[in-house]
């Protein structure tokens, strides 16, 4: 059964987030040969429509309005609902990001539909589109299907591979005019804390520090390693509680959930709450002085040793191979 699937592109700092390309790939699967329509919402976003098409969208719809400069659930839901009215899609896919988590349930309520959140895999089986998602903080998984109405899902960043970019692809872009009004909340100020360097939730490499980094300065060797590997810095709750770093870096049950290709845990003991935020990473490296540390149980590779010795050595070794590559 071929379907028309709408994908909301997510724009951050004037560019599309990677999860958008992953959402297009997911939408292609859900569409089963049908059409994938990209949707861009913002004050000035139409310049990005080509990229949606290069990554697999068949055509693009844009909704531009001054009141859409910043995300609000009221503004964006009016824009998205207008697109739904215009297109009558059979499916909608968004990223499971701060925006997607906030917006998708509102749209689902309006459409009286189901919504499958935080999807890490999508496949066709037995005539259904089957969504896999972690439950119990990644300690188990469930497979879900839609039994009635719209196929609607948010996908977790870094889990579904995007399609290869093809700059020869072309498609139509059309603008949808929507009268955005009656916003019930106004963003007065945005305090950027997490914007330095690579986006933690989308990073392919994460270097995380725990209590073992001992101080704010203790993160310096980790930052040097992150720079060499083009990775992001993360932290355990212990390191945040001890004020070695900002809570925006916290990974775990109450922080961010990350699934990078490579997770290097430095001086992290591996409390169950921390594991909930990173145990689905593809490859985990643990560096800890304590050979009994829990983190070694989930690690693929471990080095028992002082992170202040090991991490700088690692940085040097990686530099060598990356220069040769």
């Amino acid at each position: 059964m071929s379907r028309k699937v709408l994908v909301l592109g997510e724009v951050r700092d004037q560019s599309l987030r990677n999860v958008t390309f992953e959402a297009i790939a997911a939408a292609k699967q859900a569409a089963e040969g049908g059409e994938v329509v990209g949707l861009l919402i913002g004050d000035s976003v139409s310049a990005l429509s080509g990229e949606l098409i290069h990554f697999g969208a068949d055509r693009v719809l844009t909704v531009e309005h001054d009141l859409l400069k910043q995300y609000t659930s009221d503004g964006f839901s009016q824009a998205l609902m207008a697109a739904v009215d215009a297109e009558s899609p059979d499916g909608i896919i968004l990223g499971h990001t701060a925006l997607g988590k906030d917006l998708a349930p509102k749209i689902a309520a309006k459409l009286q539909s189901g919504l499958i959140s935080d999807v890490t895999q999508i496949e066709e089986a037995g005539g259904n589109i089957v969504f896999t998602r972690p439950i119990y903080s990644g300690k188990a998984f469930e497979k879900k299907i839609v039994t009635d109405g719209l196929i609607f899902a948010t996908i977790r960043p870094n889990n579904i591979a995007p399609l290869e970019k093809d700059e020869t692809r072309s498609g139509e872009t059309s603008a949808l005019s929507v009268d955005i009004k009656d916003l019930r909340s106004i963003i007065k100020e945005v305090v950027r804390k997490a914007s330095e360097g690579v986006d933690l939730s989308e990073a392919k490499v994460v270097i995380a520090g725990g209590r073992g980094v001992k101080s704010e300065d203790g993160f310096e060797p980790l930052k040097e390693l992150a720079q060499v590997l083009n990775g992001a810095i993360g932290a355990s709750r212990g390191a945040c509680d001890a004020e070695y770093c900002d809570y925006s870096l916290q990974i775990g049950q109450t922080g961010k959930v990350v699934t990078p290709d490579l997770y290097i845990a430095c001086g992290i003991s591996g409390a169950i709450q921390h594991l909930a935020g990173m145990s689905n990473s593809k490859v985990i490296v643990a560096i800890n002085k304590d050979p009994e540390a829990n983190i070694f149980k989930v690690a693929d590779y471990g080095i028992v040793g002082d992170l202040f010795e090991v991490v700088p050595m690692l940085t040097e070794e990686f530099k060598k191979i990356l220069v040769n590559a």
Partner: protein, 257 residues
């Protein structure tokens, strides 16, 4: 101020998860108030203490949810309502739960509704925003600060680590993020008082809903545990050699660098 808290009973964070006959095994497991809902309860109590009014805690589920509702009453909430769906519903999803809650709340003239931003078991984070939309009131998710002045509300929202300062107004629904407050432990006098506080039990009938109205839109077809990871390799030898080996392994074997 008329304050409501949406509360879910969940597995204790520390519980080991096992599966029997295709379902998460609940036998003998410890249950708690979903940790994010605990922040919501605490905030509701603080808002009431500052502005006056009443806090009602609402939960949808089975009779067993009574225990968690009593805990919220012991923390300081005034009333509790359990919407018991055990006899009426075999399955539900977020559509089901939000519809039931909205149906209950629609004539309550709530000024402020608080919920956790996500439940640590199902992890979908949908119910709060869905309920707000069904009630046609604004909502702000993942908040770390709440200030109320008359009907004006100033909120700080956590957005993947960045903070947004947002102005909005009552009536409003907010969902709590870690950092909003430090939930109190129930005191002994609190626990004693909680036993006498009203805890009403409702069924779908009482809300003029029948099973068909809340039939789920999605279905879980399989629950499974992640494949057990093979024991990792702890490297050995001189530290410098271990580091060299690790870099080679990551580059050539795991191919992640």
């Amino acid at each position: 101020m008329n304050i409501y808290v949406l509360l879910k009973r969940t597995f204790d964070t520390e519980e080991k998860i096992t599966i029997s006959s295709g379902k998460i095994n609940e036998d003998g497991a410890e249950f708690i108030i979903n940790p994010y809902d605990e922040y919501a309860v605490e905030e509701a109590i603080q808002v009431r203490d500052a502005h006056g009014g009443e806090v009602t805690v609402v939960s949808v589920g089975s009779e067993e949810g009574e225990k968690q509702l009593r805990t919220a009453l012991a923390m300081g909430a005034d009333k509790a309502v359990l919407i018991n769906t055990e006899d009426d519903l075999e399955e539900g999803d977020q559509f089901t739960t939000s519809k039931i809650l909205a149906e209950y709340l629609k004539d309550k003239e709530a000024d402020l509704i608080l919920a956790g931003n996500v439940a640590i078991d199902g992890g979908s984070g949908q119910v709060g925003p869905r309920v707000a939309d069904l009630l046609d009131i604004p909502y702000i998710t993942t908040i770390t600060k709440l200030e109320i002045d008359g009907t004006n509300v100033s909120v700080v929202r956590d957005v993947e680590g960045d903070s947004e300062v947002i102005e909005t107004s009552l009536p409003l629904l907010v969902t709590a993020q870690q950092g909003l407050n430090e939930p109190r432990y129930p005191s002994l006098p609190g626990i004693m008082k909680a036993k006498k506080k009203p805890l009403d039990e409702l069924e779908l009938d009482d809300l003029d809903l029948d099973e068909d109205d809340v039939e789920p839109k999605t279905k879980t077809i399989e629950v499974y545990l992640p494949p057990k990871k093979e024991a990792g390799r702890i490297l050995e030898g001189e530290l410098q050699d271990q580091v060299k080996e690790l870099v080679q392994l990551l580059h050539n074997e795991a191919k992640v660098v």
